[in-house]
């Protein structure tokens, strides 16, 4: 299922809740925690940074392949072309004083999901994240 949200300014929680309520989502609590956190970080990236002033749309969708139990979450927007996967990764071994606060969100997505990929197509940023959900 998918839905286009327009405009998206201040709509992060509505978009996150829409995705989390999808029938494709697992019921396992620990898995939902990881999915919600990944979704929140990815959606926030678009809502905060994709459009000047947050005026624009975001299409959010889920798909579950019932044979492989592979869950796919896709976010699409027509904002400023931006590949979040090219952001430098945070130095997770740095001392508190040296820790930079940037890049944490997308780093969490990379760690919590099985795969994450980005492409720019027909003027759209498309972020795709997948997670195998065997235990739910």
């Amino acid at each position: 299922m998918k839905k286009r949200f327009n405009p998206i300014k201040d709509k992060s929680s509505e978009i996150i809740n829409f995705l989390m309520a999808s029938p494709d989502m697992p019921s396992d609590e620990a898995l939902r925690f990881k999915l919600q956190l990944s979704i929140e970080e990815a959606v926030e990236n678009v809502v905060r940074y994709a459009y000047d002033g947050g005026i624009g749309w975001l299409e959010a969708g889920t798909n579950l392949d019932h044979d492989s139990l592979l869950l796919t979450i896709e976010l699409r927007d027509a904002g400023i072309p931006f590949n979040p996967l090219e952001q430098p990764e945070p130095d997770i071994t740095a001392k508190a004083e040296d820790r930079d606060i940037g890049g944490l969100g997308i780093y969490l997505c990379k760690k919590l999901m099985d795969t994450i990929s980005y492409r720019y197509e027909d003027g759209n940023n498309i972020l795709t994240m997948t997670k195998k959900i065997e235990n739910s």
Binding site: I92, E97, L104
Partner: protein, 100 residues
């Protein structure tokens, strides 16, 4: 999300409950500001009621840790649930924040 601050002579006891997410991360930062401004330099945070935190919540914990370090104090986070602990582990925050 709820933050309860109990300043004592020796240290400040804090309870963090609920979810820190996009709807209230700014409020969470605001709620912790008094800890960064003054009071005892040691902080003890009970996280048993903390159900979820996004990276925005992590950033606030990092700000607080930096403020405690600058004062030469100690901060501990206690009773964190395993799912929240994993977020601190993955991001390396467990290395810079004491979690008991």
């Amino acid at each position: 999300m709820e933050v309860i601050i109990n300043k004592q002579l020796e240290k400040t006891l804090v309870e963090v409950k609920g979810r820190i997410d996009t709807t209230n991360a700014e409020q969470f930062q605001h709620d912790l500001m008094p800890l960064m401004e003054g009071g005892p330099k040691d902080i003890d945070i009970d996280c048993s009621g903390l159900e979820y935190t996004s990276s925005q919540g992590l950033r606030t914990f990092l700000m607080l840790q930096k403020s405690v370090n600058a004062k030469g104090g100690q901060m501990v986070l206690r009773h964190m649930n395993p799912m929240v602990k994993e977020v601190f582990d993955i991001t390396g925050f467990s290395n810079i924040i004491t979690i008991l």
